[in-house]
Symmetry: C2
Subunit: 328 residues, 2 copies
């Protein structure tokens, strides 16, 4: 889990229980798949989604730790399953420096391994948790699939409108963040305003997080994040900086970037990628995307204040600050 | 749904409601995936699993039709999702004479389409049904994945012991049949004996059904079932007739079949397949497999009697008889 949560020992301890819950659930697998799945769930990242569940579960008087840990484990298992399937879709052989399940077992077995994790997530949804309806889990998971389907089907099409991009990242990232934030406070049977605020905080954090992640493809240092600059562009995945740049071009009445992309087949040649990266930067695409990410963060911060709970506000704010640092 | 249920108009009517429930659930999908998924769920087969739920849900005094229809829809959606993923694993381009989702969209998109159906199944598990615990759904789904993983990993190994084969088909077929039979009566909060009997009836029907299906690979007419005789053999999937034949050879002290398979790489050449089919038949492999399938049927029939409910007994017996006719 890295040392991401060293400054919140209380949260860190609970997150370790979430990790153990997930490991114990997966450890029931048989045969050769067991060590592979265990390694996958152990090489977790920062556990952002479970952390959101745990933080917002404090927004009330009840003691809901056990339920919060179970719900957090469900959401992380769904996330882990989606990563296994994502790696098939992206033909990704490594993730966080380690071989993916897809690389180890091939596409066929990776499909089943992901399904197995989804089945295990279902095991932990007893259906009896206060507020945590399987309907909301289902809605988030469906949106996740739809957004990925849409992105995959549209690959190579650089010219989608900005609202289509926003809907896509809302589905593939923000909906699970929103569910996580909502699920914690839902255990408390909180009043509707708090539920709505938490859902929106998660949504805005997810949007900011994904936009920032997409910006990194235009600015990021590949060594730190294991991503190559310009990779999305190369594969034909349009993201926000590109859209703003194309809009700016249209306003300026120039067409170099548009012509460059319209005339090229994906995967783009490195020369085309380099030129496009340069053009996007000089057309202020990156800068404008950063401004939109900031505005989502601002909305999240202002909603955090409205919760009227200093500890929760501090922890959520801390998480948002940590996420922002990734872009440095 | 074909005319498979014409002789049970009452059941047929409820099955049509199950179909509509599934269609309405899937119809919420967006974009290009919607018509493809709708076609997939509309080209359903005999709806064996929902039928089992509906039949056993009559084993009590309560009126549980609505719950039974929902639970039946959940199980059929899980089955439909597993078919989408199975077709990726088997690289199958047609199913029941129609193009598979894998053939239409490719492996990547088919992964997501299957996930979407699983998400929609989750939507229908409100978690509030009497007796129908998400734990049992999860257990069946996990076993399904594990058994497929095991089969896929073992492909090309003809020499697995009989109990390994039985465990494999228990996971990939019988567990979902058992769940279906169990789920219906569980809605009635029936006494433990009835729950156990129903679970075992479903299990035995599933085992008989799968063994029979595997026998068809040795005897079946390809035109009727859209399967080619000897296909499992060719692909390196060992099934019961082969195992009995190899056991017989060992008892006889001969080794032709063993040597034939040990010396060949999968996919086998047609000449090898033809010779192996001949040897399996002459070593009584098919006949012995039929006897085991019969014994599972007998156990199911005797458990049906013990339920003490003439209508349920008749309907389950009718279903079993129909399944048996497939082998003709």
């Amino acid at each position: 889990m890295t040392d991401f949560w060293n400054d919140e020992p209380h949260l860190k301890e609970k997150l370790e229980t979430v990790s153990r819950t997930i490991e114990n659930t997966v450890a029931t697998a048989h045969g050769f798949i067991r060590p592979i799945l265990l390694e996958h769930v152990q090489s977790v990242g920062k556990m952002l989604r479970p952390t959101l569940v745990l933080i917002t579960s404090a927004l009330g008087e009840r003691s809901v730790t056990d339920d919060a840990i179970r719900v957090a484990s469900v959401i992380e298992l769904i996330h882990l399953a989606s990563l296994v399937h994502d790696d098939i879709i992206d033909s990704a052989t490594t993730r966080r420096g380690k071989s993916t399940i897809y690389a180890k077992l091939g596409a066929k077995q990776a499909v089943l391994a992901g399904d197995f994790l989804l089945a295990k997530a279902l095991l932990l949804t007893s259906g009896k948790e206060r507020g945590m309806d399987s309907r909301v889990v289902s809605a988030a998971l469906s949106r996740l699939c739809e957004s990925e389907l849409e992105q995959d089907a549209g690959q190579g099409d650089f010219f989608i409108p900005r609202h289509a991009y926003l809907r896509r990242i809302a589905g593939k990232t923000a909906s699970l963040f929103a569910l996580s934030c909502y699920a914690g406070v839902a255990l408390q049977e909180a009043e509707p305003l708090k539920l709505m605020l938490c859902h929106r905080i998660g949504y805005c954090m997810g949007m900011a997080f994904q936009i920032q992640d997409d910006i990194l493809d235009y600015t990021g240092s590949s060594s730190k994040l294991g991503k190559n600059t310009g990779n999305d562009l190369k594969c034909g995945i349009p993201t926000l900086p590109l859209m703003y740049a194309l809009e700016q071009e249209q306003m300026d009445g120039t067409t170099e970037l548009r012509d460059l992309l319209q005339g090229s087949k994906t995967p783009l040649k490195q020369k085309t990628v380099d030129r496009a990266l340069h053009l996007v930067a000089s057309l202020d695409g990156v800068q404008k995307a950063q401004i939109l990410a900031e505005s989502y963060k601002m909305r999240a911060l202002s909603d955090m204040k409205r919760l009227g709970h200093p500890q929760v506000e501090r922890q959520l704010g801390n998480l948002l600050a940590k996420l922002s640092k990734r872009s440095v």
